[in-house]
Symmetry: C2
Subunit: 237 residues, 2 copies
């Protein structure tokens, strides 16, 4: 059993718990076909995700007021649809496509691993997604969270410390009683700088052919696992 | 099936989902016996609950800054322990007793009824309890909430409208897509004035011999049920 046992474990979600790229490409390709709209959906998905960090950075650096991730996704989508020259999308289509982020599918180990962890620990997403996005995703995918730590609870996106420290404030726990789990070394570095415990597992196909980093642990994280099932085993559940 | 179907259903917790009075009397009586401390624990529990609304009203009316319910409970407990002349309680004892509100047991219909409702609706507590209290209670009692709407998310106690309206803001739902469910007519009246749907079920033994009201519905609530199982049946799940 790992030496340091947390009370609560919070998970990065996009990429760490759910496979956003495959899910969105599959979802949008099928939707485009059903609507008779032709587009390079995989390229749109990759460009959409590439707009993710810059859009949050505009909020984090004060160039844009607080906006839920659903709103940032929609702003990026509108710009990309125009840039890709995709025609004939109605407002209903755009709403449906934007809510594709609420319909992401978990990696195969995620739900069984989280179910094991839930038996001993408080578990929740600590994601840049808003509460409604993360909750709809949980209902859609059967993810058994105890609590949804959406970024709108804190009015901050990761890696702002208000997010990592906000979990302990809501749960009345010290930072070192909370473990951040993610497939992204950068997320864990920010969490560790706030005093949280850390757990890493790789998702080497998250970005498909565009993956450039996070094939392995960059630091001596408290847990380094192969996936969430292995993480549960290392925590003794 | 009931005509008006919500997307999310939020539940009053103390008295509506959990039997605070029997739980606390049982818990404190056993704890006192194990510590060799004699007291009129049932009277302490009733006095503690009687201090609940006045303590929140001090916050709601600006006489005291925002304080989590755990903190208000502790302030009331300290005053009552002195008033009742209970001796020999250590700080650890007082912490344990105060966390008795995290160890409340559900009414027998609550967990099976909520489990049914969860299959179709988003469910959560909308309680004056703080997130940590409600989450620890859920873990202790096996209550399958999707999300914990603690009063500390809003910085307000019911019946302030920020609580009832705050649920829809977090879930991106209109007020009439959210149903408030409670054993207390006053809670439902406040929710209805904010535009929420309403569901009532009585808990005629909540206050034991001190019960004075809420034996039946005072208004034509959208659902009037005998308990949460019946409420699920009326909603067609």
């Amino acid at each position: 059993m790992a030496a340091k046992q947390p009370v609560a474990i919070v998970f990065d979600t996009f990429g760490s718990v759910v496979d956003w790229r495959t899910s969105l490409i599959t979802d949008l390709t099928a939707y485009g076909a059903s609507r008779g709209i032709t587009a390079d959906w995989p390229a749109l998905v990759d460009a959409w995700r590439a707009a993710y960090h810059p859009s949050m950075d505009r909020v984090r650096h004060g160039q844009q007021p607080w906006t839920k991730l659903d709103g940032l996704h929609r702003e990026s989508l509108d710009r990309l649809v125009a840039g890709f020259g995709i025609k004939d999308l109605t407002e209903d289509d755009l709403v449906h496509i934007n809510l594709g982020w609420h319909r992401l599918k978990p990696w195969p180990d995620a739900v069984p691993g989280l179910t094991r962890l839930k038996s001993r620990f408080i578990i929740g997403p600590l994601s840049n997604g808003n509460v409604s996005l993360l909750l709809n995703m949980a209902k859609f995918a059967g993810i058994p969270w105890d609590m949804i730590f959406g970024s709108d609870l804190f009015g901050h996106f990761k890696p702002d410390p208000e997010t990592y420290l906000g979990v302990g404030k809501l749960l009345d726990l010290r930072p070192d009683q909370v473990m951040m789990a993610a497939a992204h070394n950068g997320d864990l570095a920010a969490a560790r700088s706030c005093g949280l415990l850390t757990a890493f597992f790789p998702r080497p196909s998250e970005y498909g052919p565009l993956q450039k980093r996070d094939y392995q642990a960059d630091q001596d994280w408290d847990i380094v696992a192969t996936d969430i099932q292995d993480m549960a085993s290392q925590l003794g559940v």
